[in-house]
Symmetry: C2
Subunit: 347 residues, 2 copies
């Protein structure tokens, strides 16, 4: 029997609740589809930090490298460890070390879920650059504490970094409707964003079957609310993708439904799958977190591993659950009840 090795990183807060739920669903889907998943769980988290002084051991990255994939819950518990420490100590280094440069986030309404928009006919795939740009971490402060203080934060875009994410976007667009939206702000950021636009233009010659349109980030944010059905594949920088995917989560009914995949397209290192939501310390371990985003992220993991039928089975079970109203209304059903419904719908 084919076996995949999976590193589980439940992390903090509700990350633990939803990872347990997702894992139960994934294991059952695997056995129904004739393969197996072999999990190793690591306790890296803010609690781990308080005991050990780091979010993961020094050899953490090398420990994860041999796995076929990583399933992550959520990282952060600001009252225990500053976000700037916890995220830069666990989540962000994994994305960068394993060159998971494509962060993919699907936005559509699950059956039975009512979003905040009057319109409900949309199916958007956001692709966010995940390794550089506005979150490069380059910057500094001078004259600290004085009236004269200045803080700078530098966005760094490399041709390789921009080209590979755009190429990934063109490929995804080709596999879907052939329509690609590229998001910049070149009327106000004339170095980074003009560079991005130039590379988009140049690549478009290689993909004559893809119709690419450039939007400014402000106009795109408005469009996702005014005319989400006019969009298909959207590709954006680290920051712009971050903003647009929370907006995407909002229009799909909330963070309880927003799944994501941090993909290394070259498969030179493991990819990582995680719900978009955070650790939500206020509701941690109360058994009320919605596990659907985590389960959907797990389905994306199965898809990435090539287990397309099992992935489709999980998505169908999620859809059958929300269609019955279970897990469809934020805060209504308990984690257990939603998980049980998905498990039974698996077949």
């Amino acid at each position: 029997m084919k076996t995949y090795t999976i590193a589980l990183l439940p992390g903090d807060g509700i990350g633990r609740d939803v990872t347990a739920a997702a894992w139960a669903v994934l294991e059952k889907a695997a056995s129904l589809n004739g393969f197996s998943l072999d999990a190793t769980s690591y306790p890296w988290s803010c609690d781990y930090y308080l005991e050990n002084g780091s979010m993961m051991p020094a050899e953490g990255i090398e420990t994860l490298r041999p796995f076929d994939a990583i399933l992550l819950g959520a990282v952060g518990w600001p009252s225990k460890v500053l976000d700037s420490v916890s995220l830069h100590g666990l989540l962000l280094p994994i994305r960068k070390a394993f060159v998971q440069y494509a962060n993919i986030r699907p936005h559509r309404l699950l059956p039975g879920v009512q979003g905040p928009l009057r319109s409900d006919g949309f199916d958007i795939l956001c692709i966010r650059e995940n390794t550089e740009g506005e979150y490069s971490g380059a910057g500094g402060r001078v004259h600290q504490g004085t009236d004269n203080e200045v803080a700078v934060e530098t966005s760094i875009f490399t041709r390789k970094g921009v080209e590979r994410i755009l190429r990934f976007g063109f490929e995804q667009a080709r596999a879907r409707s052939g329509k690609l939206a590229s998001v910049t702000k070149s009327n106000a950021q004339k170095y980074s964003m003009v560079f991005w636009d130039e590379i988009t233009q140049r690549l478009s010659a290689e993909y004559p079957d893809v119709e690419v349109t450039s939007y400014h980030i402000d106009a795109m944010a408005a469009r996702m609310v005014m005319a989400p059905d006019s969009l298909d594949v959207v590709v954006a920088s680290n920051l712009f993708g971050d903003i647009l995917t929370d907006l995407g989560a909002a229009i799909q009914g909330g963070l309880g439904f927003a799944a994501s995949a941090n993909i290394n397209p070259d498969r030179s290192a493991p990819s990582m799958f995680e719900p978009v939501h955070g650790s939500a310390p206020d509701i941690a371990h109360l058994g009320i977190a919605n596990p659907i985003a985590a389960i959907w992220s797990g389905a994306m993991m199965l898809e990435h591993l090539g287990e397309t039928a099992a992935a489709a089975r999980v998505m169908a079970a999620i859809g059958a659950t929300t269609a019955r109203g279970i897990g469809a209304i934020p805060g209504k059903d308990r984690t257990d009840a939603i998980t049980a419904s998905v498990l039974s719908a698996l077949g």
Copy 2:
């Protein structure tokens, strides 16, 4: 009779159509309220650029300085002049030269206007930093044209710049509900945004009557769609404010309703009032642009000039118009018809 001198900059495209409409309304409101407006119009625009090689004359800024206020339509016509040239040649230099550091944008639904959200009870005042930050224009490119190319764009935040916009936000919050939302992304941008958060914290001690909450930009974008009624005054950096105010325009029914004021709070130079929408070359001079955003911006100008009663009169006339369904549905009514209705509702 009290007379205010106003510089009119109709600019490009529908900027000209809506400025003419707004001006008719403002003149009538002034005469009904016993003061007068003395306009001088300047043709600075992309057409002006094509004839003269610059968006405005070298002494443009000094020409505008003596005026009591500036009313602007829209700038830009990309097929004639690159946006990076036209905006950096006219709109952005005015904002910076006249230290119009507070860009104020109100977001609420006018009577009779249906927005894209199911929810309609919100009244948000966005305050955007307007002179520095992510749109500082600092950056560069190395190894241009090679595989090794890198583009950098540096956000520059000064203590003075951050402090004054936050102070302005605290004052506005104090004058409204006492609730202020400050928007950053300090978990991923640890120089600029941590700096902003620190200054927010420090200032909050001076405003014990204001309850300030920090949100990350991604969470705030989602909140504006999921729970817009939970927000009142929102203060954000240049880029984040730019994005949030287009989102604000979207939830209020579209850019045809989004007004804005570029304020110099010290009154050391004129402030500028402009609709949020652009020049929309595709519908320029067809007589179908919605003038409501421009008229509303004009009402903000009257307010700024201290003509509160006249400002309220204009807002009431706009409300009476949209309540009758005129100008309430994007694309339905002609510019003339909407303007005529507002004029007659003035009394």
